[in-house]
């Protein structure tokens, strides 16, 4: 007997997609209203009735909390993102209702991925997610850069899903099962298979050395799509990586654990090394996200000494910051179009003080400079990883964030002390101003009132 109730959120999303497909033909703006209302209902449902969804499942209580909280965060993120994308796509003359559908499909894929308990559903979720992402990268069909980003993302992404499938097939041959609970006592063949699966997941979260697509795709695709790649699907893949790491006990398998540590160290270093010479804003943000992935992998490895709350805390702070940074960038234009180069930020302080100060907060928070929330996120992870005995990785993490501070500070220098070359046209949409001011306030006020956020994260777990 299949328990349909336990995937009510997914069925709800699917209904939302079907309604949007039909309605979008008639009225583009109505899809936005329908979807924001739908996601709000979904959030209310998950908060109040979420636990009843999985009462017949085999998940442990911690996993259920993890799944529910991630789904709530994904829904909140998609409301913000849908509203933001409407404005930004209209500015670029790209607004078509298909974009909203891609967002919905990607979010549906993320939902399936997060709550999967076997490799079959995980594979389908991951594919649903990445197929929509390829299209979002190539969404600006008139622009050659956007097309090229789509091609690069597609060819490397399809290769990585091939790796994922071949890995799963090796695991299946060895253990005759896809379900995570049945997988134990790995032989060499399963270990190789699991290594292939991990490589595919590292690719999806853009951890180095599987990051080659990231800077190109971020630069070429429309800025709003780059925001999406950096935030919600990556969040979902990281949660799935976290679940695989702990449900399959990868920390007990030496060879795989070694791969994990190596990838973590390389991500931390590549993230800063690549960013130093960058002149394009989106490439800089791509490398900065690779560096942050390194931190999150470190958090996943030192899970024993912290709660899921700590990993979530880092992820939430990261999401808030990245949404803030991108909503500032989306608001800045010159007469030729969007600003792409870092020198385009020159003299931002003179033209808009609130944007410059919010950017300052975001960059300080990304660099991990104390009064801002980014510092505490990094601090919790480092203290846990030192307790875990990962000394070398912790040292690398600290060194990498020192070097990272250099390029974040150089952006701040551009904004506050350089003279502007082109006049910036400020596009003051109320929504994105609200988003970046809200994000900056969250990151700053955390130091003075840490309780609300910490209690919120903790109360969902215990």
């Amino acid at each position: 007997m299949i328990d349909f109730y336990s995937f009510a959120p997914e069925i709800f999303l699917l209904t939302l997609i079907l309604i949007s497909i039909t309605l979008g033909v008639l009225n583009k703006d109505a899809t936005i209203t329908i979807n924001t209302t739908g996601f709000s209902l979904l959030i209310i449902f998950l908060i109040f009735k979420g636990h009843s969804l999985y009462q017949n499942s085999l998940f442990s209580l911690n996993t259920i909390n993890l799944i529910l909280l991630s789904k709530i965060i994904l829904s909140i993120g998609s409301i913000v993102f849908i509203l933001l994308s409407r404005r930004s796509l209209k500015n670029e003359n790209l607004f078509r209702y298909e974009y909203i559908l891609f967002i919905l499909f990607a979010i549906l894929g993320s939902f399936v991925l997060i709550s999967s308990d076997n490799f079959l559903t995980a594979f389908i979720g991951l594919e649903l997610q990445s197929l929509s992402l390829y299209l979002m990268a190539a969404f600006n069909t008139k622009n050659l850069n956007s097309n090229e980003a789509g091609i690069k993302y597609f060819s490397l992404g399809a290769l990585s899903s091939g790796f994922l499938l071949f890995g799963i097939s090796m695991i299946y041959f060895d253990t005759a099962s896809f379900t995570f609970q049945n997988l134990a006592n790995f032989s060499t063949i399963s270990e190789v298979g699991l290594a292939l699966v991990l490589i595919a997941l590292f690719f999806k979260v853009s951890a180095a050395p599987f990051h080659i697509w990231t800077p190109d795709v971020y630069e070429g695709s429309p800025t709003i799509s780059a925001l999406f790649f950096a935030s919600l699907p990556k969040f979902a893949s990281l949660i799935f990586l976290f679940r695989i790491y702990h449900e399959l006990n990868i920390s007990k398998i030496d060879s795989l654990n070694y791969i994990f540590q190596l990838v973590c160290a390389i991500s931390l270093l590549v993230g800063v090394y690549g960013a130093i010479t960058q002149k394009v804003i989106k490439r800089l943000l791509a490398f900065s996200s690779i560096n942050h992935i390194g931190f999150i992998l470190l958090a996943i490895m030192s899970y024993q000494y912290m709660s899921e709350g700590t990993i979530f805390f880092y992820l939430i702070i990261y999401l808030v910051t990245i949404f803030g940074v991108f909503s500032v960038i989306l608001n800045l234009r010159t007469s030729e179009g969007e600003i792409t180069l870092l020198t385009g930020l020159n003299g931002l302080k003179a033209s808009s003080r609130s944007k410059a100060i919010s950017m300052l907060v975001f960059l300080f928070s990304l660099a991990g400079i104390p009064p801002f929330a980014g510092f505490f996120a990094k601090f919790f992870i480092l203290s846990a990883s030192i307790n875990e005995g990962l000394y070398l990785l912790s040292v690398i993490a600290v060194i990498s964030s020192v070097i990272a501070a250099f390029y974040y500070l150089s952006v701040i220098k551009n904004m506050f002390f350089n003279e502007s070359e082109n006049e910036l046209l400020l596009d003051n949409s109320k929504l994105s101003s609200f988003i970046f001011i809200f994000s900056a306030l969250v990151l700053t006020l955390f130091f003075f009132y840490p309780d609300p956020l910490i209690n919120l994260v903790d109360s969902l777990f215990y």
Binding site: L120, F123, I124, E127, L131, Y134, L135, A138, T141, K142, N143, L144, N145, N147, E148, A149, G150, I151, K152, F154, S155, A158, L159, S161, G162, F163, L165, F166, I168, S169, M170, Y172, F173, A176, S177, F178, P215, D216, E219, G220, T277, Q278, R283
Partner: protein
Amino acid sequence: MSSLTYNHFFILSLIVFIIGCFGLFLNRRNMILILMCIEIILLAANINFVSASVFLNDINGQIFSIFILTIAAAEAAIGLAILVVYFRNKGEIDVTKINQLRD
């Protein structure tokens, strides 16, 4: 004469997988070849699933391979769609010329 065992199928699928990967990396000309190599890699996984399913006497592997078939079709369709759009703007699909985005 020895009979076929699972290992033969596994080695076959491994060879097909490696052919696909090498085709992807050594190919210096055409974007369509990349799409074909991706299909070959997915085919390798399918061979492995179906043969493992027969030898393990377990139906799940075959179900998985049906899912792979549908998703591979969707993936090829999307890949070709992006390629067509690219061709309209650029006028060629030479792999070595896809280099506008770089440091």
